[in-house]
């Protein structure tokens, strides 16, 4: 009986098309592998610089290590000349129970053990998949006209303050409003698609000595190969930050409903004017 009552108050809608659903999960796989293999590659020289070359004495960031007087290893993280002990996580962490000099810990790198060669193999394979997958997504966005759903309307922008307040209170759009992306989603996705991901990809390409001989403008754009490497790293963490917020929002705004809509396409919205059961 309660099932029938619930069904009468809830409306099943189609939310995500098949292309969006497939490319979303391929993207989850790609981004996970790219992040973890990227940190493996970073670990081969766990320091970042600005400019064309590596000024080894003045890194922007270094996940280094020092030997302590008692013979063990201590992790030291240096950011723009300021150092802090980060033993256990950054600079030095346990490998098979033994504290070892290591930029990022083994639980977040792919492979988990130190292996630059295979880290590169993973990274470049999934970089191609990421780019192809992204191209399919963008193409479908353009062909279907759904890109319009990503442009915030004037009315939405005028009420952005209210939207931010609602999100802070964990009050999410319901009813008709939940059928489309809200203003914060639209702005976030636009920044990702137009800024973060293109800069991330271009930064990666700029690190290629082969491509630098053809597109030297890339070097000028980033201010040198080492700057490009630093920006690539920062954009990866911007994407990670987005993903963490995204997952929290998915959890808080109806986890199972959200998961179902991204797997089967069906999303249930509650009709206006009815109270929550």
């Amino acid at each position: 009986m309660s099932d029938r009552m619930m069904a009468s108050r809830k409306v099943r809608t189609r939310r995500h098309g098949i292309v969006v659903r497939i490319t979303h999960w391929v993207n989850v796989l790609c981004m996970t592998v790219l992040l973890m293999s990227g940190l493996q590659i970073f670990n081969a020289h766990p320091a970042l610089y600005w400019g064309t070359q590596s000024n080894f004495d003045h890194p922007i960031l270094r996940l280094g290590s020092e030997e302590t007087p008692d013979g063990s290893v201590k992790g030291v993280t240096t950011i723009a000349g300021h150092s802090a002990d980060s033993t256990g996580v950054l600079g030095a962490s346990k490998v098979n129970g033994e504290m070892t000099a290591r930029g990022f810990p083994s639980w977040i790198t792919l492979p988990s053990y130190q292996d630059l060669a295979d880290g590169r193999r993973w990274h470049f394979f999934f970089a191609w998949l990421f780019v192809l997958n992204g191209a399919v997504y963008l193409l479908s966005l353009i062909v279907s006209g759904h890109w319009r759903g990503m442009i915030p309307s004037g009315a939405q922008l005028r009420h952005i303050g209210g939207s931010i307040r609602d999100h802070m209170r964990l009050r999410f759009p319901k009813g008709e409003e939940a059928r489309t992306y809200n203003v914060l989603q639209r702005l976030t996705y636009l920044v990702l698609i137009l800024v973060v991901i293109p800069v991330l990809v271009l930064g990666g390409l700029t690190m290629s000595p082969g491509l630098d001989s053809v597109f030297s403008g890339l070097l000028d754009l980033f201010g040198g190969r080492q700057s490009a490497r630093t920006v690539h790293f920062l954009m990866a963490f911007a994407l990670l930050l987005f993903t963490l917020v995204h997952v929290v929002m998915v959890l808080l705004s109806g986890f199972l409903n959200n998961m179902r809509s991204m797997i089967t396409g069906t999303y249930v919205i509650e009709e206006e004017g009815r109270s929550d059961g």
């Binding site: 970073f42 004495d57 792919l110």
Partner: protein, 258 residues
């Protein structure tokens, strides 16, 4: 109709399972040869796509004297301890000779003085290590294309192999010495030189004395140091591990333009 609880349970379990599989399953996965073949296949895609853009005439960026790194890191072998190399170094390589052979019309060997007497190219370029760092140095040497023209490549030659003095490891059937290889087109690139000078000085031992390769559109490990012999070949399959280089035999890409 399916029980909604079951479906919910499935969704939750599926997402938990897939993430834990991903995190724990990749290390053994990459040991499987079928999976390695797929993963390693990306190198061919990269080489083909970059090949569409990298015409033979495109030059790697060159820098000014002011950009030269005060500290140019030396990587890999810093000082070979092989007896024959140590003996050559003791005499400032006056007894060293570069052997050039394989699929060539006129095999030859050249002393350092011979090489210094040939046309030279000087270039200030960026050296990108596969580890991620970059340094800028000034290199002077003879264009490899000039040496190849002197000996005359046979038509079937497809690769140039560089055999080096430094032993990397002891293997079951003797020693694995450093070696590298490049395609003929890259060997003939105007910036591909056999360098005997670095930053206006005689090439120092940590950077590959008496002779090293500069291959400016690829990563550092391609630029063989301590070169003893150059060979033109048709295939790389029969040489050592068959992958065209010491690091390639250890999983690194043969095409190191990325």
């Amino acid at each position: 109709m399916a029980d909604p609880m079951n479906r919910r349970g499935f969704l939750t379990r599926a997402s938990l399972l897939s993430s834990s599989l991903l995190l724990s399953g990749c290390d053994p996965l990459v040991q499987q040869s079928w999976f390695r073949n797929i993963l390693y296949g990306a190198e061919n895609v990269t080489r083909s796509v970059q090949g569409l853009f990298l015409s033979d005439a495109r030059l790697a960026p060159e820098y000014s004297e002011a950009d030269i790194s005060p500290k140019f890191r030396a990587n890999g072998t810093i000082r070979p301890d092989d007896d024959d190399y140590t003996a050559l170094a003791a005499d400032d390589f006056s007894n060293w000779k570069l052997e050039v052979g394989g699929l060539v019309e006129r095999p030859a060997s050249y002393s350092l003085a011979d090489l210094r007497g040939m046309p030279s190219r000087t270039q200030i370029t960026r050296h990108d290590c596969v580890e991620g760092w970059s340094c800028i140095g000034k290199w002077k040497g003879v264009p490899l294309a000039h040496v190849l023209d002197l000996v005359g490549l046979k038509p079937q030659a497809r690769f140039i192999v560089f055999y080096c003095a430094d032993t990397m490891e002891q293997t079951l059937d003797g020693e694995a010495k450093y070696y590298e290889s490049v395609a003929i087109a890259d060997a003939r690139h105007p910036q591909t030189i056999l360098a005997y000078e670095m930053n206006d000085q005689v090439l120092p031992i940590p950077h590959g004395a008496p002779l090293r390769l500069r291959l400016e559109r690829q990563l550092g490990y391609k630029m063989a140091k301590y070169i003893m012999k150059i060979e033109a070949v048709e295939s790389l399959k029969e040489i050592n591990g068959g992958n065209g280089g010491y690091w390639e035999d250890n999983g690194y890409e043969w095409y190191a333009g990325i």
